[in-house]
Every structure is written in C-alpha cells, then in structure tokens.
C-alpha cells in the first residue's frame, strides 16, 4: 500500500468499531486489520460524508454492502481526490473539507490559541470571566439581540401554543403600549405574546419579544399587577439580561466569536438554540435591577408602583407543595424574599420623595 491511514471499520448494520488501516490502490479502497485484509472496495461503490461531533472525521460508506469506515486523517481526502475522477466524490470531498472548518475558533493554530489564551487569562485576572462576558455583551449591537430573539422565537413557536385568544392578546398589547410610550424610542422593538400553559410565569427573549403565560393572566388581580409584570420583563430586555445569561452559559469562546462577528447568523443560531434548551434563570442582581427599572417605568407611565410587588407577595404566600406551577415564576425569576424586601424599600423611598 502506498500510504495508509488509521481508521475504524464498522461491519454492516453495527456500531462496534474495529481498529484498521485504510489505503488506496488501483481505484480500490483497501482496509486491513491485525487479523488480515478485508474485501477491497471499488471507489465507485463508496459515498462520503463528514462525521463526528465536530465534523472532523471522514465517514466512508460502501453503498453496496453497507459497511462503514471512519477516519480522522485529512490526508485520506487528498489521496481519494487523486485516485478518482468520479465527480460526485469530488463534490463530497469539497463539502467535507468545508464542513471541517465550520468552527473557525477551533482551528486557530495552536500558538495563536496559546497567545489568545494568555491574553484572555491576563484580562481575566483583572475583570473575571463575568466581567469579560458582560463587557462583550455591552459591545454587541442591538441587532444582535434581535437576531438571537427572532431565531429562538421561531423555534419556540414550533413547540408551544401561542394563544391567539383576542382578549388576552389585546389586553397585554394595550398595557404594553402604555409602558413603551415612556421608553427610549431608540430602544428595542417590543412584541407581546401569550403562551398557553398552566405555569404562572413570564419570559423576555433578547431583542424585545415578551412571552406571558396564559395562567399568569388569570392569576393577576388587575391590569396594575399585569403592568408590573410587563415592566419587569421589559427591563430584562433593555438591560439585556437574557442575552447576558445566554452568553454566560455559552462561555468565553462563543462570546468572543459573537463580538468578532464571524458569522452572525451561525453564532446567533447557536445562542438561540442554547436559549431554547438551557436553564437560563436570572441572577439576583439582574432580578433586582429588573424590579427597580420596572418600577420606574410603571411610575412614569402612570401605573401604581406596587403592581408587581402585590402580585409576587400573593404568590409567595401560597403553599409550596400544593401547586408548583403557581410558583414557576420564582424558578426563572428567583430570590422572592430579597426582591420583595428591596422593592418595598424602593417604594417607601418613592413615597417619601413624593411627600416632600
């Protein structure tokens, strides 16, 4: 054999690999193991694709017998190219080579990676990982939030029932409009949706799409409480909390990638996917921020400041064991006790300021 490469041989219909050597000779793929040679495979019988998690390996399938060979060694692609004129194979080889470079950050040569690592490590010493990711989030354009939110929303609406009941949708849009009138018009483009579920919760996607559960709308006593919830969620968007949480979950590499804008669609897609499947509860600081920013928005818009507080206080008094779904809001918007205290304090301060 001219040159041979290390690979794995999977007999037809199995998932158990044997360690083999793979080589090319006279238009045939030759596979051999310690136990001897396999039947040579004519190149006209094979099809190729990229496999493995990082699409970093070549999967060769014998169309006739169904046996499969996997190989890591990129030189096999070059060897295949030389040994065949079949245009479909050339096509596939091209596709696989492209597929292999899907994740550009992973293909930095190692010394560049080392430099970047050291540089990043130095920055980390000063600001910490959280600081770094937050700094990156602050530098991303608003259009990035929008992109991630839109992709996530498309996915979510495939699986979830978005209630089209006019009454609920109208109600929420009317309240939302009133609040948005007092927001910086340069801010995000907001949209309000009602999610058909028995959970009591609400969620803000990056870029301005806000989802409120239908059951939450049953449980609020009046529009003032609902406006309180909306003010809180709007603040999660304007303060980019959901985007930040997604970036934190995604890690430093992805955040850097997002900033460098390699391919906004690809990065956005992956972030949106993460948003869809990861547990992205807000942290305590974000919750308090959203509470307080929300209260300011309520006051500006002529709603009573304590709408959200009243609603959360009532939920918190419920018996935990009786109905978990009523308390779902505390799973993604945590720290009920501390938040309620902080909100009370702020409301007292607002009252005092008014009296003066």
């Amino acid at each position: 054999m001219a040159s041979s490469f290390t690979g794995r041989y999977y007999p037809p219909g199995t998932g158990k690999a044997q360690s083999v050597r793979v080589g090319l000779e006279g238009g045939m793929l030759k596979v051999s193991s310690d136990n001897g040679e396999f039947e040579p495979i004519p190149l006209s019988d094979i099809e190729l694709r990229a496999g493995g998690f990082q699409k970093d390996r070549i999967i060769i399938r014998n169309k006739v017998t169904g046996e499969t060979i996997a190989c890591h060694d990129k030189r096999l692609l070059a060897a295949l190219k030389q040994n065949t004129d079949a245009s479909h194979l050339h096509n596939e080889i091209g596709k696989i080579s492209k597929g292999i470079s899907i994740y550009p950050v992973l293909h930095f040569s190692s010394w560049i990676f080392a430099l970047v690592s050291l540089g990043t490590a130095a920055i980390l010493l000063y600001v910490g990982i959280d600081g770094l990711i937050d700094a990156i989030a602050d530098r991303l354009p608003k259009s990035f939030d929008k992109k991630v939110g839109e992709i996530a929303f498309t996915e979510i609406s495939k699986d979830e029932r978005l209630d089209q009941q006019k009454k609920d949708v109208q109600r929420i849009n009317k309240l939302g409009k009133k609040l948005l009138a007092n927001l910086d018009p340069e801010s995000y483009e907001f949209e309000f949706h009602v999610l058909e579920t028995t959970d009591v919760n609400a969620f803000a996607l990056p870029g301005g799409k806000i989802l409120v559960c239908s059951e939450l709308m049953r449980q609020v006593k009046n529009d003032n409480e609902l406006a309180g919830v909306l003010g809180h969620e709007i603040s999660h968007v304007t303060r980019r909390h959901t985007l930040r949480q997604t970036l934190h979950k995604a890690g430093v590499t992805a955040s850097v990638e997002a900033l460098m804008g390699n391919d906004p669609n690809l990065v956005g897609q992956r972030l949106a996917h993460l948003l869809e499947i990861a547990d992205l509860s807000y942290n305590r600081k974000q919750e308090e921020e959203a509470d307080l920013t929300g209260v300011e928005l309520l006051v500006k818009s002529g709603f009573p400041a304590d709408g959200l507080l009243r609603f959360l206080e009532r939920l918190e008094k419920l018996d935990l064991s009786s109905n978990n779904r009523m308390l779902a809001i505390f799973s993604t918007h945590p720290m009920p006790k501390e938040r309620i205290d902080a909100m009370r304090e702020r409301l007292e301060a607002i009252k005092k300021a008014k009296k003066k």
């Binding site: 290390t6 794995r8 999977y10 037809p12 219909g13 199995t14 998932g15 158990k16 690999a17 360690s19 083999v20 496999g51 493995g52 998690f53 990082q54 699409k55 390996r57 999967i59 399938r61 169904g66 499969t68 996997a70 190989c71 890591h72 994740y103 992973l106 080392a114 690592s117 050291l118 990043t120 490590a121 980390l124 990982i129 996915e155 699986d159 979830e160 579920t197 959970d199 969620f203 559960c213 979950k249 995604a250 890690g251 430093v252 590499t253 992805a254 990638e257 990065v267 992956r270 972030l271 996917h273 993460l274 869809e276 499947i277 990861a278 547990d279 992205l280 779902a328 799973s331 993604t332």
Partner: protein
C-alpha cells in the same frame, strides 16, 4: 500492569496491580485501599495553559490523581461514589471516546485525556455534568455508571436519542446534538430538565440505567415526607 473489575453489578470495584515504577491516572478520591508502596499524588493534567483553558471554558477544573507504585510492586482498589457498575473501554490506535466527566474512573496505558474545547451549543454543561472528557491513545479507560451499564450500538446513519442524565460514554465517530427530551420548551427552561443527546451512527453509546439527578429528586421527596 494488571487491572480488572471485581464484584461486577451494582457494587463494582476496580483492582489494579502495579509493578514497581508503573503508574496510571484516576478520578480524585476514588481509592478504597492500597499497598504501602502505592502512592497517590494530585495533579492537574496538562500544565498551566491547559488548566487556564479549562477554567475559562467552564470545565471547572477536572482533577486527576496520579497513582504510582514506588520502590516496590503494589496493588490498589478503586470505586466510584455511586452504586453501580464499572466497564473497561479498550483503547486502540485511532479509536477515541468521549466520557461524561462524572463517569470517568481511571485510565491505563498511553491514554491522553483532554477536556476538549467544545463548540457552543454543548459548552454550557459545566453544571449539568455532561461535560465530556475526550480520551485518545492506546490502553484502557475505566468508566463507572449509576445503576447498570448498558451498551447501545448505533449503525451508520441511524439516530438514537439518550437522556443526558443517563449518558456514560460514546465513541468519537458519533455525531451528536443536544435536543429536548420532552417537547415543551417551557418545561426545559423552567426546570433545566429534559435535555437529551441525539446521536447519529456509526458508533456505540454506553448508558447508565439510573439518572443521578432524578434519583436525588426522588430522595428529596422521600425525606421531605417524614
């Protein structure tokens, strides 16, 4: 070096006999008993750069112990913390495995273990325990399961979906992506549950018959009742 699984089943243990000077890597804190000559030293695998990389990318530092027979031959027994089985994965040239970090017990021979930097959608698992170690080289890797350990072969092109909590190890030729086990986005986002790995063959997946976090939840319920 001799190694074998003893008491296979739900209380499996690993026994390793070392000639003088021989050594291997094991999970921190797995020792049950050892000869006097067998010494254990904690070590972050792969030096400063790699550990910086690890802390940056969320692996929260995966620590190994180096176990060496010093001055005389010796023997050591190892066990994972959970009730379950142990399986030895044979490592040959060109064959590679991903091992769920919590399932790694020991590595023998010339095996490299990399806490491989993973592309985005999978990178967030630090808290979930599906952070995978990438094992390459020649030798063997011992993995442990919670409950029984089963093997699922996935032929070329076929798809098989495994709940994340039941993953132990899988062969590197498998392509995989994270999907929702349950349909509801709402459920996974509020509970963090219901994530699964969708594997495309060819390759083999090893699974455990019990899910540690479901078990823990069940325990909590039982304890709370009293």
């Amino acid at each position: 070096m001799y190694f074998d699984v003893i008491y296979p089943g739900n209380s499996a243990m690993l026994v390793v006999k070392l000639a003088e000077g021989e050594s291997f890597k094991a999970e921190m804190g797995a020792m049950v008993s050892r000869s006097q000559s067998v010494q254990i030293s904690g070590q972050i695998d792969g030096g400063i750069l790699r550990s910086a990389r690890r802390s940056m990318f969320g692996a929260e530092g995966f620590f190994f112990q180096n176990i060496t027979a010093n001055g005389a031959a010796g023997e050591i027994r190892l066990a994972p913390p959970e009730l379950g089985d142990i399986k030895l994965l044979d490592m040959r040239e060109g064959v590679d495995y991903f091992v769920q970090a919590g399932a790694f017990l020991a590595a023998f021979g010339d095996v490299q273990i990399d806490t491989k930097l993973q592309p985005l959608a999978q990178g967030f698992f630090s808290g979930e325990g599906v952070f995978a170690l990438h094992c390459t080289g020649v030798g063997a890797v011992a993995v442990s399961s919670f409950g029984a350990l089963a093997e699922i072969e996935i032929p070329d092109g076929e798809i098989h979906i495994v709940d994340n909590g039941h993953l132990v190890a899988w062969s590197g030729d498998l392509n995989y992506s994270i999907v929702k086990a349950a349909r509801s986005w709402w459920h996974s986002i509020t509970t963090g549950e219901g994530l699964a790995c969708s594997f495309t063959g060819p390759g083999t997946v090893w699974i455990q018959s019990r899910n540690p976090s479901s078990f823990f939840k069940w325990m909590k319920k039982v304890v709370a009742r009293k």
